[in-house]
Subunit: 349 residues, 4 copies
């Protein structure tokens, strides 16, 4: 079919993978030609996901770069951390465009990767080739790229909430605190007590306090924007819901900037960016208001009593925080409109 490209999805049986399928099936310029799983190769895709009955009739392919290269133009890697470090180079060598949804190629410093991920880091020459696909901030790098490291869910929400202020130099960079809350789908389909319904339902708690692997990813982005090292506090929490991330971000505002000035700064920064909606002053986003969509919604408030700004940033962790941003990056890589195939509304309620 002229004008369309063929896509393969590795790790297609995880939540990131199945969300990619939902989005790509609606994309007018993409055809899914291979759904791939190392653990379930040969099985019907719908054995694990009967909601796609009569929609996806394929069996799962094994992970085989040659085979994939014969069937697809682009491959999405929606595998657990530590897998694509080894496989992404093979897919690239086979001539495929690669979008990696794992954390393996996001951190430039391998020793930091190793400290937080407890895996050996990827080959530095490939890390260098990977473009960090935070589309609204580094979109220019993504245009025409062949290899994109898709940002993490928390880092997307946090960075989009902070970048305008950091770039403008209006906050004390040592004062940043990100208190983030995520739905349970962020933990994937794997089983553990922290994804067990009876343990999570009617419960709220923080985890990986002061040691979550998204901390250095957020710091790397803000340091790059600031032009100097940024160290911050990041606390993730689990919310008894399936989808959604809300980051509540705190920082000391400098030079007496007013709420109106900051709001205007955000409005201008995101002008023309389809997927970031800066809410009017006095209004704040809820995760349900972006559910199922690729939006990142931002609201902010300045407290004159403390000189502190509070920023609220909401995304659907599986869309803007994973599969949706990956499709947005594909659009940029191909030179298409960034909203191609992504222009649908949130599902509410």
């Amino acid at each position: 079919m002229s004008g369309t490209i063929r896509a393969a999805i590795v790790g297609s049986t995880g939540y990131g993978g199945v969300e990619l399928i939902r989005l790509l099936l609606q994309h007018p310029k993409v055809r899914i030609t291979s759904v791939i799983s190392s653990s379930a190769a040969g099985q019907l895709y719908t054995d694990g996901y009967p909601h796609l009955t009569e929609i996806i009739t394929d069996r799962l392919d094994a992970v085989d770069p040659e085979l994939v290269a014969s069937k697809a133009d682009v491959v999405f890697l929606a595998t657990p951390h530590g897998v694509s470090a080894a496989t992404a180079p093979k897919f690239l060598e086979a001539g495929l465009k690669v979008i990696d949804l794992s954390g393996d190629f996001r951190l430039q410093d391998g020793s930091v990767y190793e400290k937080y991920y407890k895996h050996a880091p990827a080959d530095p020459s490939y890390v260098k080739k990977a473009v960090y696909g935070l589309a609204e901030v580094f979109g220019a790098d993504v245009n025409g790229a062949s290899f994109v490291a898709n940002p993490g869910c928390y880092p997307t929400s946090a960075a989009l909430g902070l970048v305008p202020l950091v770039q403008a130099g209006w906050i004390d960079l040592d004062s940043i605190i990100i208190d983030a809350k995520s739905g349970v789908s962020g933990a994937g389909r794997g089983m553990s007590l922290t994804t067990h319904f009876s343990e999570v339902n009617e419960n709220f708690f923080a985890y990986k306090i002061n040691k979550h692997q998204h901390t250095p990813e957020i710091e790397q982005t803000l340091s790059r924007v600031a032009g100097r090292p940024v160290t911050l506090t990041f606390t993730p929490h689990l919310v008894p819901m399936t989808r959604g991330i809300l980051s509540t971000i705190y920082a000391k505002l400098e030079n007496g900037r007013t709420e109106a000035e900051v709001h205007e700064l955000y409005r201008q920064y995101y002008e023309g960016r389809r997927f970031v909606r800066v809410r009017p002053l006095g209004k704040f986003p809820a995760t349900k208001e972006v559910a199922g969509s690729n939006y990142c919604d931002i609201g902010l408030s300045v407290d004159a009593r403390t000189g502190r700004i509070t920023i609220l940033s909401a995304i659907d962790n599986l869309v803007k925080g994973a599969a949706g941003q990956a499709v947005q990056n594909l659009n940029l890589m191909m030179g298409w409109d960034e909203a191609e195939g992504l222009a649908f509304t949130p599902v509410y309620p």
Copy 2:
């Protein structure tokens, strides 16, 4: 725009209305030209639904048939029961096509309507004109129609689960029991203790036992299919979730029909019907597997010990049970493919 029609939505601030907006925004042949509310006319639509920020920038229109007729070709009435009885005739007289999502034009017998709905019934001459839009069963009537009574949520799920067996005459018509369970969005956006989070969450209960207004609607459909009066038991329950209906249906199977025969009967009945998925024997649908989509998924099991069949029928109450079926009916009224604008997958998880 050639090839497109203009749509207005009355009662657009309810859950049926906002779901119509989500679906029609994705429909390639429809443009929404008026969002209407009797209670909030003049306000921005997004004041009540900020998830549509930057998507719907319109203010709400008042209910004015002349105005609507000047702006639209078709009007969806997503108003509470008892409202469209009075307004639908006016919209029809003004030359609009009308799709009524309320219960006002579904029941042919006004006295039954009055008994269950506690409202005066609509003018019988208009009731006669209204085509009951259960697309997979009475779709032929809908083709080219101007006035459709869109089925209720429970009746859609229940009737699609029973019609093949009733039409085939394979069950004891006096043995039908429908034990139905719905998410809370079915109760609308109005406030009451039965939609109060702290009352409904971690709770499960039945309501309107032996007196729910959908009982006669289901009986009317099955009686029409059977060619004789059908009386049945229907019990609705509230599930602590937002979307979804599962009907568990019981009946006595006659003449020793086997599970395989019944399964084949369903397969054939729904052959070519895009939105009904008959699951393989041994598999049963879950509401999450149809969430956000227009599918009705059906599974069945025959128990040789009791001679009884158990049928499971799952829909998203706001889509196939309301707005999605209304769009499907619009497609049939216009002579379009019934799946036009509705060919998206469930949102999972």
Copy 3:
């Protein structure tokens, strides 16, 4: 301490076990002297259940009947099905009173056990010794007994909802359908996709249709009460909540019995039984109204149109459906007031 007995709990790290601990800690006549686990022996109990920090400071004991007999007078077996078949006899031989919360000693017919549980049945001589502890129906048997098979959660809810009518002979015994709905804690703390939060939340589905192991247990109870074999339909469903079971029960009423007569029958049958609350006519129980308590609440409605009765029966599956009824049985075994230590209210909301 004079007047108290010492209790041990095998399988104390499951949900049945931890609920026994909650209840026994409040019981004025019982002291917990050993918490036992085959898989976690030696660990601190609070490693797995930090909500008991500073309350339970014990380490888990291994399963050792001699040791248990030296420390306790009664042992609760809250182990998975198939375990107590082997261990209960040993505890009995060691001189302990035994209350088995598993299904291993409930079914008198070993072949039926084997068919539904897929385990070898227990030694028939011990099965014969086990008293089936449905306290409100067979409580006389439990008085002074040494070995009690504690009823299953669904069977408790279903049988209490049906026994008065079955005993009175007022329903068609071939017409019974039990449509039951349970919170997720009924599936235990083990991990599987059906206890995975993102799969279960915002979802509703039936499982083990026409083959759940509680079917023969309910049939056995009703057959015993009826004095003839009863075969029925039982369908369990999973509700996205942690605790609670609601059974919606249908049957054909015979001889034109009225709603008022049936209600009076229930009122009289449960007169003086502290834990069954027959609701006034027109009122129906919700699971939240019994949460955390040992109540079974019952409501009923007769439909003159169909001649059918609908009975609603609600319990907390972990209390009246497991640990609470076990304590109630202990009270009867010891000759104490059946409500000893159980006289607390539901937790609402």
Copy 4:
């Protein structure tokens, strides 16, 4: 009954009131002699709360201080803000002990009350008489008192998490940020979109950003402990669950204090206080681990990279955050053990 006192509850039909009933029914030294409601006087209590069927058979009394004084020794005011300002003095004049669960007598500065509560402040002479009942901090004041202002839910969680550090002077008092998350029952039984199930379920959002009325209450407590004014940032969020508050608290640690030192500080501060459980280093509380109980569980972590401490503080908002702490205060007022009637475990799961 010798040794018991008689209690009345005004506002007994709200969630604070019904939780007081649950707790007082278990209290060995208290008898409930009047349940009171201004809006539902004359109705059966169980009309609104059928979970208390056969337990509370009383009708609701009207608000009448003379009548109450004739029937009770102590009155709990669980009324909305703005009500007890007028009624508490009348009950006091009538000779009753008064425990006010509303915000009307918590803030010493009437102008601050008026700014945040939008009500006229209470008579300052009565405000002065009211003892602020944060039992673990100001318990000495409560001993023998006649009039207690029971702390708010968020302030209890936040203050217990901060007081040891503030008293020790180990943190920068200008650096305090409290990011708090509450279950929906905190919003009461009143109806609004923010308690509507379909709006709140699968949703997470902040509210009253930089203007919640609990901000000055927390500041007042910390200022009193610090001996100088404390200004801080407080952000409340709504969690899609019924019960529970988790406060995530951030502050700059001064003078290079280590995690071990801070942990020891907390351990010592709460030594002997039955209802505060300081978790071992590396462990953090979840709201479900205190559900239904009067515990406040605290965990903490120091990040050497930022010099910041993160404190997690969890309570059940209806127990330690309202009714439970009120009973604890009653115990102190009467000179009883503070745990009298409150020594039960959390309900888990």
